[in-house]
């Protein structure tokens, strides 16, 4: 079933992509079927899965690499599918309204469907390599989706930024996966988690894997691609950059943490990175005037929060993480949808220019305020229930846990402040930036446009008021990560420290928002002078200029220098090894038969004359002479096959030489050269000559194993049905090699034509093709 679901995304996605123009925005309805069906299908088996059943689906792929398509649906995957396919389906409906008749609509729909399928595969994959494949597929579709407006240079740059950062992290992660697979002896994720290796190599592998998770989930210091990715159309931001893709890193950490949190530097690394991200992201979210940037930094902050909860590897915190994962998906996707609506209707997201929203905007405001309140963890909303869980999980722990708790409270205070900032922007924008000439718009968006947001908000409220609705899901999801985990969600825990902390958080957040003028002055003064984007750009520039410098040194563009390096290396290194070692078999018999002497004279004379010839044509003919001399040698040695081939090849070579030479000057250019250069050339040529002779002698006299040719000659008649061993080897014993070689010949033929025609104007097919081109017999 799982394979079919993932495959359905691929089929529908490609179908929509191929018919992008014809379908237009209807592509969202076609493509949206895939996540909708996936959500329904998973919901239909969810009852059993939550009771502990595991749905699997397996297909063999590359068994030699241990690569199998193992899909695996447990309770935590169900939770992820709710985010990926459930919220995904709503985003498709929203996007249908958002894109309208925009030309990119069809393409966006197809890519979004493909992304949805990749993400579904990622959360179902039970094989590390398969997980990596889906991971990269989400990176690639994200790249294409961020840059969907490909005429916009900023969009292209942001897409590339996201791809480079997540792609590099993905590579590090692949290295980590390979090492982890080696240490565990299997690539199956569920097997690895059952008996996790704890070696030093594992610790290194985990750091590499975390690099992938950090880059994907926009953790500091790799966060800067996410705000840039906000140039994408808002449905894409809502789906990829809040609900689904950025959760991939969190997903991976959640899967691995229960088994590996104690290994190496995992816990300190994840917790410190997560806390830094949560607080720094929260601080940054207080500054931007662009509502989407505000949400982007808010998302980074929340991702840091999730990273801490899952990464710490504590049963209670894991359960809290599961709750927050879902709550965050619900409110953040809704908030992005609101920003998209505002942008679409008011044509600005800048809160200094936002209009005053009138009567038609009530539904939108309800979505915005409720979702932001859930983000700020105001009761009785899903966000509050989740944050209570988080506080509860850490409050009774060790000193370390309490320090982490303090960090989380600080981050949450910032969350409250930027949530209020968002609410204020939509309801009373003059609170933040007093402007007198704000226009007012009464005409609100179509109700269908707001509907997906309303559904999400209804879910946020329902889950907040009646935690029993999702208690089983969260409980089982956390149990499937860590059997010792589990929780019972409740709105009211009684008067306890967590409740007190929640109230303090809200109060301090209000204070921080109240003092926003002073805070912003302070922030402006303390803000770091270097932003993440600048660091990224400087890094890319340094890599490019470094590469240019290295290329400049390595690729001098001088043919003599290339030839000297290649030939010199080939000659000097093996010769030195040969002379210093014990390979030397002694001089062989130099003259075997009388016929060798005239042939040798012919060869030496031809070769020497070729080097001093002044005309290219003469040199080519002399080279041909050397070739014919070789053929004669084969005849004398009793190898008629070789001789025949050599004669034919040599003849053709001369003709081809002539074809090429007519495009070159008649005589060799012999510019005046410094003596040093000439001496160097002679030295290189001489050493190559000496090397080839020595190698030939050493190779001929160094045989230690029986030659394979004997076995071949025995098998030629019985298995190859032929008496000509050379031919049997070519067409039978080593037939695969021949097949490869003739394929190369065909490629060479195409290459020759392409080279020869380069620069000439294209000719029409009808002019070049004769009318009797039917493939009849070769012979005339």
């Amino acid at each position: 079933m799982l394979l079919i679901l993932v495959g359905l995304h691929a089929v529908l996605g490609l179908f929509v992509l191929c018919n992008a123009r014809r379908l237009g925005r209807a592509g969202f309805l076609v493509g949206g079927l895939a996540p909708a069906i996936a959500a329904v299908a998973v919901a239909s088996v969810a009852g059993g899965v939550l009771d502990g059943d595991i749905v699997t689906s397996t297909a063999s792929w590359v068994p030699q690499l241990g690569l199998a398509i193992d899909l695996h649906l447990d309770a935590f995957s169900v939770l992820m599918v709710v985010l990926v396919s459930g919220i995904g389906a709503l985003v498709f409906v929203y996007a249908w309204h958002y894109f309208g008749s925009a030309p990119a609509a069809g393409r966006a729909a197809g890519l979004l469907t493909l992304f949805s399928g990749s993400m579904l595969g990622l959360v179902l994959a039970d094989n590390l390599l398969l997980l990596f494949v889906f991971w990269e597929l989400t990176s690639i579709t994200s790249y294409l989706l961020i840059g969907i407006n490909d005429a916009d240079a900023e969009a292209r740059a942001a897409a590339l930024h996201a791809l480079l950062v997540t792609g590099l992290g993905g590579l590090a992660m692949l290295g980590g996966f390979v090492v982890l697979g080696q240490e565990a002896g299997t690539l199956r994720l569920s097997d690895i988690l059952e008996s996790p290796p704890r070696t030093t190599a594992t610790a290194v592998a985990l750091v590499l894997i975390l690099m992938g998770a950090f880059t994907k989930s926009a953790q500091y210091p790799f966060h800067s691609w996410l705000p840039g990715a906000m140039v994408a159309p808002t449905p894409i931001s809502a789906y990829l950059h809040s609900a689904a893709m950025v959760k991939a890193g969190i997903y991976l950490v959640a899967r691995l943490a229960p088994a590996f949190a104690d290994v190496g530097v995992w816990r300190p690394l994840v917790v410190s990175v997560g806390l830094t991200t949560m607080i720094a992201g929260g601080l940054r979210a207080l500054r931007p005037f662009d509502l989407k940037q505000l949400l982007a930094f808010g998302t980074i902050s929340q991702l840091g929060f999730l990273m801490v909860l899952f990464g710490i590897g504590q049963p209670e915190a894991t359960a809290a993480g599961c709750a927050l994962l879902l709550a965050h998906g619900l409110f953040k996707a809704a908030l992005f949808m609101v920003v998209g609506i505002v942008d679409h209707e008011a044509h600005t997201r800048d809160l200094r220019e936002l209009p005053l929203f009138g009567a038609g905007w009530t539904a939108t405001k309800v979505v915005a305020i409720t979702s932001a309140a859930s983000m700020a963890a105001i009761p009785p909303l899903a966000g509050f229930v989740a944050k209570e869980e988080a506080y509860t999980s850490l409050v009774d722990g060790t000193t370390g846990d309490r320090i982490v708790l303090a960090g989380i409270v600080a981050g949450s205070v910032l969350t409250v402040a930027y949530s209020l900032r968002f609410i204020a922007a939509l309801t009373k924008p003059n609170l933040i930036e007093a402007t007198t000439d704000r226009p007012a718009i009464d005409h609100g968006p179509a109700i269908g446009f707001v509907l997906p947001g309303l559904v999400l908000v209804a879910a946020s409220v329902a889950l907040g008021v009646a935690p029993a609705l999702w208690s089983t899901l969260v409980d089982n999801a956390s149990r499937s990560l860590d059997p010792t985990s589990g929780t019972y969600l409740a709105l009211w825990h009684g008067f306890s420290t967590p409740l007190l902390l929640s109230m303090c958080t809200l109060g301090m957040g209000l204070v921080l928002f109240g003092a926003r003028q002073r805070v912003s002055v302070l922030q402006a003064r303390l803000a770091p002078t270097v932003t993440g984007v600048q660091v990224y750009e400087a890094t890319v520039r340094a890599v490019v200029s470094g590469a240019a410098k290295i290329t400049g040194i390595v690729q001098s563009g001088s043919l003599p220098i290339y030839a000297a390096i290649i030939l010199g290396t080939a000659a000097v290194a093996p010769t030195a090894a040969m002379l210093s070692g014990t390979w030397w078999p002694g001089w062989p018999t130099l003259v075997g038969r009388a016929g060798h002497i005239p042939i040798a004279i012919l060869l030496v004379a031809g070769a020497t004359a070729a080097t001093i010839a002044t005309r290219r044509f003469t040199a080519a003919l002399l080279l041909g002479l050397v070739g014919y001399g070789m053929a004669l040698l084969f005849v004398v040695q009793g190898a008629p096959d070789l001789a025949l081939t050599q004669f034919a090849v040599e003849t053709l070579s001369i003709v081809v030489f002539l074809l090429v030479l007519r495009r070159l000057p008649d005589r060799f250019e012999r510019p005046r050269q410094p003596v040093v250069g000439q001496v160097a050339r002679v030295a290189v040529s001489a050493s190559v000559g000496v090397f080839v002779v020595l190698l030939a002698i050493a190779a001929a006299g160094s045989r230690s194993a029986a030659p394979v040719s004997r076995a071949m000659s025995e098998r030629a008649l019985s298995e190859g049905y032929g008496k000509n061993i050379v031919n049997v080897i070519l067409v039978d014993i080593r037939g695969m090699d021949t097949l490869g070689e003739i394929t190369v010949l065909v490629a060479a033929g195409i290459g020759i034509t392409a080279l020869a025609r380069a620069g000439t104007r294209p000719r029409s097919l009808s002019a070049s093709r004769p009318d009797t081109s039917a493939p009849h017999e070769v012979e005339p």
Binding site: L652, Y721, V731, V746, R763
Partner: protein, 157 residues
């Protein structure tokens, strides 16, 4: 060709060309048991084509061989790959050649191995590649429109 054609060369080529092609085909089929094979056979045929080029330029080749080089290449690769993969259909490994031995009236004992089919593919590719080289680098390859006109005018081979 810009230079005037030599009558002696022309006649020699006419005499030798067909013979060389027959020889090349002989080498192709004899190759399994005697010196020869698809590669050498192809090279001999290519030598005949080269002679033809020297005598009459690209025009002469085009007049004599109406099949285009890329047809040779694709046909050859197709034949080779098909014969390599055919044994897979009957459950053998690729390139597992079979042998057919029959006693035929008049011809006597005839032995044919499917390896010869593979070798024919090699032969065709070598011929195609050489034709391709002449098409690409030949004397008047840069004036294809003119040559096409000549081809249309002179239908007789």
């Amino acid at each position: 060709m810009t230079t005037p054609r030599s009558l002696i060369l022309d006649t020699t080529v006419r005499l030798v060309f067909d013979g060389a092609l027959v020889l090349s085909v002989y080498l192709l089929f004899a190759g399994h048991n005697q010196p020869g094979g698809g590669f050498v056979g192809g090279l001999v045929a290519a030598g005949a084509i080269a002679l033809c080029y020297i005598a009459g330029g690209l025009q002469a080749i085009r007049r004599l061989i109406r099949i285009r080089p890329w047809t040779f290449l694709s046909l050859g690769l197709g034949v080779a790959v098909t014969s390599a993969l055919a044994p897979v259909l009957s459950g053998d490994g690729p390139l597992d050649h079979a042998v057919v031995q029959r006693r035929l009236p008049l011809l006597g004992e005839l032995k044919f191995t499917t390896a010869a089919v593979f070798d024919t593919g090699v032969y065709l590719i070598v011929v195609g590649l050489v034709l391709m080289i002449f098409e690409g680098l030949g004397e008047d390859s840069d004036r294809p429109e003119h040559s096409a006109g000549v081809e249309d005018g002179e239908e007789t081979p």
